[in-house]
Amino acid sequence: MSVAPTPTHVPPTQESAVTPTVPTTEAMPTEDQHGIKEHSDGRFGFVPVQTRSDRFKSVNVTDFAPVTGREAVWKFSPVAKFTDLTAGVLDGSTYQVESAPTADITVGWVDRDDSRIGSAGAPEERAAANAWTSFDQALAITVSGEEAKEITVTRADLGSAPRGAHTIIEAKPFSRAVVILENIGDARLTENVEIVLGESANLTVVTLQEWNDGAVHLANHFASVGRDARLKHIVVSLGGSIVRVNPSVRLAGPGSDTELLGLYFADAGQHLEQQVYVNHDAPNSRSRVTYKGALQGKGARTVWIGDVLIGRKAAGTDSYEQNRNLVLTEGTRADSIPNLEIETGDIKGAGHASATGRFDDEQLFYLQSRGITEEEARRLVVRGFLSEIVQHIGSKPLEDRLQAAIEAELRGTEEK
């Protein structure tokens, strides 16, 4: 394989397997009828390529200009609805956390000078920096021990005042666990979650957003994956008014591996967003990104941006990212933007796909003409569509729970 010029920015194309010899161009967005788009990235014409890793970073909120909504990281978000989180004073105090005692997992508060803080990443935008500046203590979930184990850490009482928070999840070398972050109740929260995997650790992190209807949640997850370690990261966003969870994973050690899964179901008026970033920064690393979303009801809005950077050190990378959206009713909008930057010619594979399809009247007619009722038809399609993600979660109780949550979503929208 030949060595490509640096950096090569590959424009989004449908179902493309990409080789690093594609010239540097930017695709013009096109729209077809019904507002259904293959790739709707809203950019116009040529945009100079900025390597994702070159983005400005700071843990200090005052280093960022006030948010206008025109910034790359904010341009799809309803920023006017959470100026308290980007510009206001945040409550950074500790809060109620619930979890069952689990062998080889500790959960507790640590001071700002804990050496792990800042080890996995730093904010690229103002809400995250505001949280970082504001938190008093960080919640630390520390995993050790080679036995498989699972813990659910629940936050149910964050209240509706603006809050900043910081969490560290550390998996010691060779440790193994499933950590479920369960978010319910009210919230106006901006937070950073750092996930650090030592050598050969095997960690699954599930972040489950089942907030109350009015909740606003802006989260950045920064993960650093060590040599031969494996991170499975799953974002499930179902409840809340505005939920934006942006996982950013650095494959830091040789042979590191990550699987990033996402599942979201936007109802009327909900804004669910995820900006996923995988940074291949070591040889022979592997990543798989699969996000699936359903949209139903007027004003249901989803955003998925998937950036993959295959850096100069990342020879032998194997990477694939995809996002699929299923539009169930009129009046919704799904943006889906995959980006791939490749700085080395010596990779095993890199590809991406993105598609937004609708469940339309003809599909409904077809299913009904086989005796299936309208409600059952809708459920069949959504369940089938999202189950690909659910089935990969790897925790049977959680899978069952999510399946039930999806059913509840479907029932909820039928009642409206």
Partner: protein, 254 residues
């Protein structure tokens, strides 16, 4: 003995240019076990008749009725009609993302029978039917019609016909887009379904070639939204030789 009666059926469709009348008084009676072929030029309203029987929401019944064993069908929902025993093999089967053929068939069978089919016999039944229709096993795990070729979609329709066991089936141009081998396989499937269940068939086609493999009891010539002539199988041969010209007035395009 079941009977499907279509009486003086008038149907219109909403278009951008306003309401358009398509069916102008269709009369047709199909008894269980009979095969009726409907032949007619493009645009004569054959698919409209098929969709109207199935209950597609785009088509409005202005007057007339469709009776299944004396029960009015036109006021039933689409799924009620299917559960009452009607089936439409579509001219253009629809792709259903996220739903596998296996899952779809099981859900449909359960809906139609009112109870889930016994798992072991059902799996075997599905597998046997697929085999006879020369559908590869892998189709079972694919999403319904997604990425299927035209011929594969038609086979999938006949697979459903065999498994769902309706009392009356409308086959809308099931023959179009099939090569000779596929046409034979599909026709065998239809004949098998008829042998096994004794259903009544309304076979819509533009050409006579499928009638070489499925012998109709009656042939109806459909022109400009109504039946212009009826006869036995010999009428099909005549149409093959003469075309539709003698039925067409200047206002019609064949």
């Amino acid at each position: 003995m079941s009977v499907l009666e279509i009486k003086d059926l008038h149907v219109s469709v909403e278009t951008d240019q306003g309401t358009k009348q398509i069916l102008h008084g269709v009369n047709l009676t199909i008894n269980e076990g009979e095969i009726h072929a409907i032949m007619g030029p493009n645009g004569s309203g054959k698919s409209t008749l098929a969709y109207t029987i199935a209950g597609h929401p785009k088509y409005t019944v202005d007057s007339g009725s469709i009776l299944l064993d004396g029960e009015e069908v036109t006021t039933m929902t689409v799924d009620q009609r299917a559960r009452a025993g009607l089936f439409l093999a579509m001219q253009y089967p629809v792709e259903i993302p996220g739903v596998t053929v296996t899952n779809f068939l099981r859900t449909a069978k359960t809906a139609i029978d009112g109870v889930a089919p016994p798992i072991r016999t059902w799996i075997k039944e599905v597998r046997d039917s697929m085999k006879q229709l020369r559908m590869d096993k892998s189709f079972a795990e694919r999403n319904v019609n997604e990425g299927f070729s035209g011929g594969e979609k038609k086979r999938n329709e006949i697979l459903q016909l065999e498994l769902l066991r309706p009392r009356f089936a409308v086959l809308d141009e099931t023959d179009s887009g099939l090569d000779v081998d596929a046409l034979k396989i599909v026709s065998e499937g239809v004949n098998r379904a008829k042998e096994n269940t004794g259903l009544g068939l309304l076979l819509i086609t533009h050409y006579t070639r499928i009638l070489r493999y499925i012998t109709p009891d009656f042939v109806h010539v459909f022109v400009d939204g109504r039946i212009a002539e009826q006869g036995g199988p010999e009428l099909a041969d005549r149409l093959e030789d003469e075309g539709y010209d003698r039925f067409l007035t200047e206002s019609n395009v064949g």
